[in-house]
Symmetry: C2
């Protein structure tokens, strides 16, 4: 008998019929002799609808109350799932994040899980019940207030619960078949990846692969919980995220991210303290800087470029202009039409020339590289947004033979 | 400085604009120097929508999960009200029934309030906040599960909270101006009642006046909390429900109820134990019998008629037929087209001839009386459903002079 944590996203519980589907899958898993804990997101557009309502009753932001509001969403989908499962003759019980003992920091809207008590979850399992836990939410033991975990929070709930309960596997059900070698909406020949290491998945997530957020992968890695990303609409095997196996692919996949924008400060006097003068106020403004590139200095003058989420670009520009004036730089340019394309693969560590091949492929397609950054298992290039489609496709073609073949029988 | 509990019903928080209205009223009350606790129902049709969703995911009833589901409704309206109030610069905080310490029995869907801790409500008030409490819901200390209070539950939450906090007044905001001498949809000349005693209001509620449920009135009476029923759309005074003042009106108002049906068992042998044989199984089936009339026996044979909620009529008929066979009665008739009309007034106790006048007025309008029941401050007659309109109007006309005049300036 195994203990399985299953997480169903908003599209998987989007309406009554889909919830009945989820219930059948859960009941089958239970009847196969497993203990089952189910983590649910809010139904489809519920969260957006509630955010919209909040915008119509109040002009300012009220984080504590926004969390009280939004957490109603998973409470609703959780109760409905429990009903649908019980209707199939399988005992079930839904719990809020607070009831399940998901303890978090007190930062509303972006709380972090600090501990999971899980007493009521364990009691429910002991009583032979399927236990449904509302994802994305918890409670701060300090303020006693309800909190939400921010984007990807339901995945984090599922993996953290799996770790706390020492589950055998955490299954993430979603509306795609798994993790792909590239985004199938961009690359027609993209293939589902059968297995990927935590390290590679982390890099893929950070580089823009939206199917699994980095913090969930990090939880899985830290506690050694295998994560199985799979479709809630088919019974097919998806992608296993787990410890690296012996054989490593040189390139696991291509990720991309078009949600960032680039700021360049021109004509910066190349002297100590200039970078700090720029990035300290950005950090203080809560802006998440991704890539930073400083040109080689010429005549004591350099340029500094960095990327930030497009949603933060206004603030980032203001900070950059202010600092530019202070340090006597030449000026500030903003480019919102950029995209980042990355190749990820643990085998890169022991293989030389991968970066050179990447740059060659891009240049052969007349794609200009604006910025470059690397990690031991990833190389990222910033290109013009209009080049994104061709960049991803040409790299996928170019590294086709280095990517692991699809396992026989997998779709 | 007073402590005021305000309760807003579903129609008063039906959309974003209405919630902003509620927030303005609450902010005004707070800025006038009062401590304010707000109890909210779910927005308009939210509860119906959730019940509908439940019906689509499950065929059977799952009371625990239904309560988890429905309680999302007041959580949403509570959080939205808190945001709207804070937006006006008044500190506010919403609490679920559980967080507010509303402790109930464990009967899902029809729990009774057994205690109110209210620690977090008091703390919030001490911190200078308006505290919003989700109505209609609580938590069972035994099962630790979330419960709902059933129909009129938000009013019960408000009055019980007012009692627990020793509030100066409990204001029930609704979509009508107060309690009327008769239903204004039926009687054009119906007047708002300025003051009514707990005892009279209890009888009005039981007799069908839907504006306030009997158990809320009972809470107010037991703990001496004045209840002010008023409109959330105007600033006008509504109806005060409080201890009787010295001067009592003979007739306070006319109530009616067309939600019941009548069952008659004919040709019942008039011997001990027959009534018990009929009403014990009805009670065991959870059917709430209202009026019971047994005819004067003739030749050892009698008829027994009783009224039940129309929603229970199928079960009541089956029980009656079964008992009828067992005791050798002649047969069972069901009449679903009935209505009950009642006159209520504490002054009746010291005034004779009121019942006779009521019967006279009905007979003058050729309205047949099918059943009669009385209490010290109420006389109720069952008539044909088609006679209801004329019965209520003729009684309102006939007792016009006995009803308290409207206070000068009141609408």
């Amino acid at each position: 008998m195994s203990l399985i944590v299953q997480k169903y996203g908003g599209t998987s519980v989007g309406d009554a019929e889909l919830i009945r589907n989820v219930a059948r899958r859960v009941a089958d898993t239970y009847r196969a002799g497993n203990d089952v804990v189910v983590v649910v997101s809010a139904m489809g557009k519920t969260t957006d609808d509630l955010i919209d309502l909040a915008g119509r009753v109040a002009d300012r932001e009220h984080p504590r109350e926004m969390d009280m509001l939004l957490t109603a969403g998973e409470r609703i989908s959780g109760a409905l799932c429990a009903m649908a499962i019980e209707d199939l003759g399988v005992p079930a019980m839904s719990l809020t994040g607070s009831q399940a003992g998901i303890l978090t920091t007190a930062e509303h809207g972006q709380a972090e899980i600090v501990d999971i008590r899980g007493d009521r979850v364990r009691t429910g399992l002991t009583e032979g019940k399927v236990v449904i836990v509302a994802g994305f939410q918890g409670v701060s033991p300090d303020s006693k207030d309800v909190t939400t975990l921010g984007r990807g929070g339901s995945d984090a709930t599922a993996v953290a619960l799996a770790a706390a309960l020492d589950a055998d596997v955490c299954e993430i059900y979603t509306d795609v078949e798994g993790v792909y070698t590239a985004d199938p909406r961009i690359v027609a020949g993209a293939r589902k990846i059968d297995e990927i290491s935590y390290e590679e998945m982390l890099e893929m997530s950070v580089a823009g692969a939206g199917v699994l957020m980095a913090r969930s992968v990090e939880f899985g890695r830290r506690y050694g919980i295998p994560i199985h990303v799979r479709s809630s609409f088919t019974g097919d095997m998806g992608t296993w995220v787990k410890e690296a196996t012996l054989e490593e692919a040189i390139i696991r996949g291509i990720a991309h991210d078009s949600s960032e924008a680039k700021v360049t400060v021109h004509g910066v006097p190349d002297k100590p303290g200039v970078a700090a003068a720029l990035f300290e106020p950005l950090a203080a403004a809560g802006i998440n800087v991704d890539m930073i590139v400083q040109n080689v200095s010429r005549d004591g003058i350099t340029d500094i470029s960095f990327t930030v989420p497009a949603s933060s670009i206004e603030t980032a520009r203001d900070v950059a202009i202010s600092v530019s004036t202070d340090v006597g730089a030449g000026g500030v340019d903003v480019d919102e039409d950029i995209a980042k394309v990355s190749i990820v693969g643990a085998g890169m560590k022991s293989e030389s020339g991968i970066a050179a091949r990447m740059f060659r492929i891009l240049s052969e397609h007349r794609i200009n590289i604006e910025m470059i950054s690397t990690s031991p298992v990833r190389i990222s290039c910033v290109v013009a947004g209009s080049d994104l489609h061709e960049a991803v496709n040409s790299l996928h073609d170019g590294f086709e033979t280095e990517m692991a073949p699809a396992i026989e029988g997998a779709p």
